[in-house]
Symmetry: C2
Subunit: 333 residues, 2 copies
């Protein structure tokens, strides 16, 4: 568990896309984002107070989060100066970079000397159990995609926010690096040892109040041959009551797999439901979330309407329209 709130380190981000992780934290957990730390030449701006380490510490920040990705995932010498100073100032550090904080001898030595913690969220720190498949109390929702990177995390976060706005009980359960940094905890599922994947998901979504929903962050796709095993572990370990189908209608082929076409939403529905019912016979598909970012407003609305008519399920782009209708659909089960 990463201590909050955060000071968001944007470094020398060349553009706002490079600060996507920080943007995610700011959008979804503004209460965790005390301020931003930008170095000279930084082109990203989250419209948060620019704070130095001392100011941020005085305002209560506990962890400096590396909210920026640079080419190659390397921790540059220019960043090092700030990261070391942050440890000296009493901050923990958290990062989702491929290049691990703990593998930098200077950071490791200073963290040791100052008693601070380095959080590399790509690396599991828990000895997860083998899944037992035992029915758990509480309810769970999982977004499954026709492909990778179609908006499954966004959908879960938007549904979680809407639930909370309605005063309903909900927890976003992170299964990837960005999600873990946003919430401060979770399971880096793609880095877990094969035998323990489903057990890690069970661990992440334990028994809960009968009216509590876990909004589980999806990963990969049952139809993406590189990562489908990870998705399978989510479907069986998560034993979801509700599935949301996620789709990006303009994608020409499966991400990274030029020879593979996307499945239809019908195929996704049938396969996901069949597999989900192995772990939870009451599993239902409750709605569809479509990422229409590549479309204009009219085209997007007409696309959503067409899919809703065809599939007979509430169909929204949660970014354009909010997740209200998806949350309504949870109520019905």
């Amino acid at each position: 568990m990463i201590e909050t709130p955060y000071l968001l380190f944007l470094g020398d981000a060349p553009d706002s896309l490079a600060a996507k992780v920080a943007q995610g934290i700011r959008d979804w957990r503004p209460e965790n984002a005390i301020g931003q730390f930008r170095m000279e030449g930084c082109k990203a701006d989250l419209k948060l107070p620019d704070l130095d380490l001392v100011d941020a510490k005085a305002r209560g920040a506990k962890t400096l989060v590396v909210g920026v990705a640079n080419r190659g995932g390397v921790i540059s010498p220019a960043w090092k100066k700030v990261l070391v100073a942050a440890l000296e100032e009493g901050f923990d550090l958290a990062s989702g970079l491929h290049n691990l904080l703990r593998n930098e001898p200077d950071l490791a030595a200073v963290a040791e000397a100052t008693g601070r913690t380095l959080h590399d969220v790509r690396i599991p720190t828990v000895a997860y159990p083998i899944a037992t498949g035992k029915k758990r109390s509480g309810k769970r929702c999982l977004a499954v995609g026709t492909d990778c990177s179609v908006g499954k995390m966004y959908t879960a976060l938007a549904m979680d926010r809407e639930m909370k706005a309605r005063g309903l009980k909900s927890s976003f359960r992170a299964t990837g690096q960005t999600g873990i940094l946003i919430t401060g905890e979770g399971v880096p599922l793609d880095a877990v040892i094969a035998d323990f994947m489903a057990g890690a998901v069970e661990w992440l979504t334990p028994d809960n109040d009968d009216d509590h929903w876990d909004m589980i962050e999806g990963q990969g796709s049952l139809f993406h041959v590189s990562y489908s095993g990870v998705t399978m572990a989510l479907v069986h370990g998560g034993q979801p009551d509700a599935l949301v189908l996620s789709h990006e209608p303009t994608r020409p082929h499966m991400r990274g797999l030029p020879d593979y076409q996307l499945p239809s939403l019908e195929d996704l529905r049938d396969v996901a439901l069949t597999l989900a019912r192995v772990a939870n016979p009451k599993a239902q598909v409750v709605g569809i979330s479509v990422n229409t970012a590549a479309m204009g407003e009219d085209e997007a609305l007409s696309c959503l309407e067409g899919i809703e008519k065809r599939m007979g399920l509430p169909t929204v782009d949660p970014f354009r329209q909010g997740a209200g209708r998806l949350v309504d659909a949870l109520d019905a089960i």
Copy 2:
């Protein structure tokens, strides 16, 4: 790759079941089994020559394989003496125990000093790639089970043996500890990091002659919630042309999961075929392998006949009847 042939270490095995791994090597790769090494009190006997280290070395043995499991997977002090002597004598060591050879300081030190290799086959030693899904040349067969431990490995080994007996091109591709020790190579799939599972299977079953078959060792079950992600990676990474359904008809519930019933063979066929066709649109179910070990001869034959009639597919127990009809079925595709 573990150097063959082997001297099979049976230690102080309390019964023959404890020497199951050694038995597997002896049954399936007799040319790899030069002899057995039994300590005082050993109750297992593979009917191989009892050789001491010097004799075995003189006959060409390269590796001492720990072919015995004891309670807790621990490497006992009594074994240590033999293992150290084997290293000194010029043997490599290989083991599938949970307790790793490399984690024993004395074995590690002697291996280092003598320049010998410790093979812990539960631990991946290769940096497997992410799966690309690219179509590979050659053909592949995968057994998928209604449950774990229903005879998938046995089926693949029996088919491989039958292929070779007919002069056809075939390779057994090991994905588990016993299979790896039997053949001397393979991928310990349940110990691979989630993101690389399917890539490891692609790596294991590369491009090959058009008339060559890989007989891929199956793992878990698409319907076993603890391990289904591993099975999924086999189905998508292996891109099988042929699937064999494996089943044990007397099992009361899924192995280790008392609340879960086994799926029907029809459900397994439909789910496995749908998923396999994502990676290989030509995938077919060619036959059924039934483990009838718990039945008498008449009951077994009647069970096989009933399934064959119901499913319309060649149905055999490869242990009772050989794998000939399954190999016949491969010819047809």
